[in-house]
């Protein structure tokens, strides 16, 4: 209440009351602010009443008796109003400070955490701001709050010098109270252009008839609901689309088969008799052995046979390679050629020669083979 009250003081010794517009009521005994004519600046009346000294006394000036009570009442009233104003201003200040803090932290969050900011947390911040704005509105509309719009602030001094006080109070935002900043900071009305626009909108709104407005509202609602429907439909579809690929994209059995194939050729050589115990058996007439054509056992067994018909047989036997059951009887004639090139690349002759040996070899090796198979890794 410091400075403002000093201004209210009615000063003696002919000093003028200055700088305060008293928004007093027309009838000083009532607090009803809504009486007709309110607010009526009472300065002239007041000053007249106060400042008229008794003509026969020199000094100090004093109030004429008829106006004395009136003035006292007015003072009480002004004091009460001042108190209310102070209280509501304080409430307003604290609300605005809260709002400012949450705005500050929200901006800080947006600037520093935008990478990991989640939508729910943004919504939380918005909810907080909206709550605080609501409280502020409530404070403003409270019946004990005087109408701030009736308060007038008059800049008494404009100075181009730096004002430390002001600097502190505005947290460093306003260093000087000069002609440059005053119009902005003391502004109580929007910019003229904005005001103009608002006026235009208001007249536009007024010009449209109730029916036309209703129609427009309806069409807007319709558009919104259509849009909503489309969005939710799209959502449903994408959800069901997400579920649809439940259809198998892989088959564990295939995985196993393929892994076994690359790891040890399982299922690859379909010409190998099933049940052969593994690729590495010496002398075993499996596909691998035949293919390689380098098995020592086979060569040893075939080495003694005569061979004269190699050219003819190679063609014939090539064709019959896949049918081990139907071997021509002249096979053994080829043995020599096979044995002459023990490290030759896959030889069909050897293959064919090997087939009739299969049973014999199997019998011979049967027992031992089984034992080996168990030991063998592959």
């Amino acid at each position: 209440m410091g400075k403002r009250n000093q201004l209210v003081e009615v000063l003696g010794s002919g000093k003028r009351l200055k700088g305060l517009r008293v928004d007093a009521v027309y009838n000083p005994n009532t607090t009803d602010r809504k009486q007709p004519g309110y607010p009526m600046p009472m300065r002239s009346c007041y000053l007249t009443g106060v400042c008229t000294p008794s003509p026969w006394l020199f000094s100090p000036p004093f109030y004429v008796s008829y106006s004395f009570i009136w003035v006292t009442n007015l003072f009480l009233l002004v004091q009460r109003e001042e108190k209310q104003l102070e209280a509501s201003l304080d409430a307003l200040l604290s609300q605005v400070a809260d709002l400012k803090n949450s705005l500050g932290s929200f901006i800080c969050k947006l600037e520093n955490e935008y990478g990991r900011l989640t939508w729910p947390s943004v919504l939380d911040s918005f909810a907080l701001l909206s709550g605080q704005l609501n409280t502020l509105n409530k404070v403003l509309k409270h019946e004990k709050t005087p109408l701030f719009r009736n308060q007038v602030i008059i800049p008494l001094v404009l100075s181009p010098d730096r004002d430390e006080d002001l600097m502190r109070q505005t947290e460093g935002r306003v260093p000087v109270f000069s002609h440059e900043v005053v119009p902005d900071h003391l502004r109580t009305k929007p910019d003229p252009e904005v005001e103009e626009q608002e006026k235009q909108l208001t007249t536009d709104a007024a010009r449209i008839g109730a029916d036309a407005a209703q129609k427009q509202i309806q069409s807007l609602n319709k558009m919104c609901s259509n849009l909503l429907e489309k969005i939710s439909k799209e959502e449903r579809e994408s959800e069901s689309g997400g579920l649809r690929p439940n259809k198998q994209t892989f088959n564990p059995t295939d995985t196993n088969a393929l892994v076994a194939a690359v790891a040890f050729g399982k299922g690859l050589s379909n010409w190998r008799p099933s049940g052969s115990s593994g690729p590495g058996q010496p002398g075993q007439p499996g596909a691998g052995t035949i293919l390689a054509g380098t098995s020592g056992l086979q060569q040893v067994q075939m080495a003694g046979a005569p061979s004269q018909q190699q050219p003819m047989l190679s063609g014939v036997q090539m064709a019959q390679a896949g049918q081990p059951g139907k071997m021509p009887s002249g096979i053994k004639t080829n043995i020599k050629s096979a044995s002459m090139h023990p490290y030759q690349r896959p030889s069909c002759l050897v293959f064919i020669l090997a087939v009739p040996l299969r049973c014999k070899v199997k019998k011979l090796l049967g027992q031992e083979e089984k034992k080996n198979a168990r030991l063998q890794l592959w």
């Binding site: 994209t249 088969a257 194939a261 390689a292 890794l377 592959w378």
Partner: protein
């Protein structure tokens, strides 16, 4: 188990002891497109690479039960490319902390008379197949999506037949031994391919 004919110990000295970390899975033919799309999005930005390889697996049998296995691979669609000889050690499943199968591996590029050389050494072919598919890379990770064809007539890669209706998917990293952290990256990558493909560490011994 008896000692193998050739040392199965990690090859040391000269070359670094490299290990292959491996995850395997498969995808059905009709889902191949989606997988390729996803891989193109996930992997390094490179031209889509395809391959058509013929792989022959050679064995060297000693007196002992376990044969020594070498894999020879040649490109069928790129003439003049070197052959590729590969030794793979016994796969280790490891514990839960390691998310991939690990096996010793030695890779060598060779000339094209590799088969003759192996034959002369006493190796013989055990099986062969044709692999055709796509190759992707992401950092040191290699992703292969390929179909395996069995060869109908031995030695003739023209007449082949698909082994199954699926493509094999392999995610592998070759790294020096002890770099188990790479398996974490592999696991993360495999997670991103779900539910399209489930890449797992599959113990081949289980499938014998």
């Amino acid at each position: 188990m008896e000692a193998p004919p050739v040392t199965m110990m990690p090859v040391t000295g000269g070359t670094i002891n490299m290990m292959e970390y491996l995850l395997q899975g498969s995808v059905l033919d009709h889902s191949l497109e989606s997988l390729i799309h996803r891989l193109r999005g996930l992997c390094d930005n490179m031209e889509p690479e395809t391959f058509l390889d013929h792989e022959m697996v050679f064995l060297l049998k000693g007196q002992q039960a376990s044969p020594f296995v070498l894999r020879a691979r040649r490109s069928m669609d790129r003439a003049g490319a070197p052959w590729h000889l590969r030794y793979l050690g016994q796969p280790e499943m490891g514990d839960k902390n390691r998310h991939a199968l690990v096996r010793n591996c030695v890779d060598i590029a060779t000339s094209e008379n590799l088969t003759d050389f192996l034959m002369e050494m006493g190796f013989r072919m055990d099986h062969e197949f044709v692999a055709k598919g796509h190759l992707f890379r992401k950092g040191i990770m290699k992703i292969m999506v390929y179909k395996i064809f069995r060869i109908l007539v031995p030695g003739n890669t023209d007449s082949t037949e698909a082994l199954s209706l699926s493509y094999l998917v392999e995610l592998s990293v070759v790294a020096p031994a002890g770099q188990d952290v790479v398996s974490d990256d592999m696991k993360n990558f495999a997670e991103q391919l779900k539910p399209l493909v489930h890449l797992e560490k599959i113990d081949p011994k289980r499938l014998m």
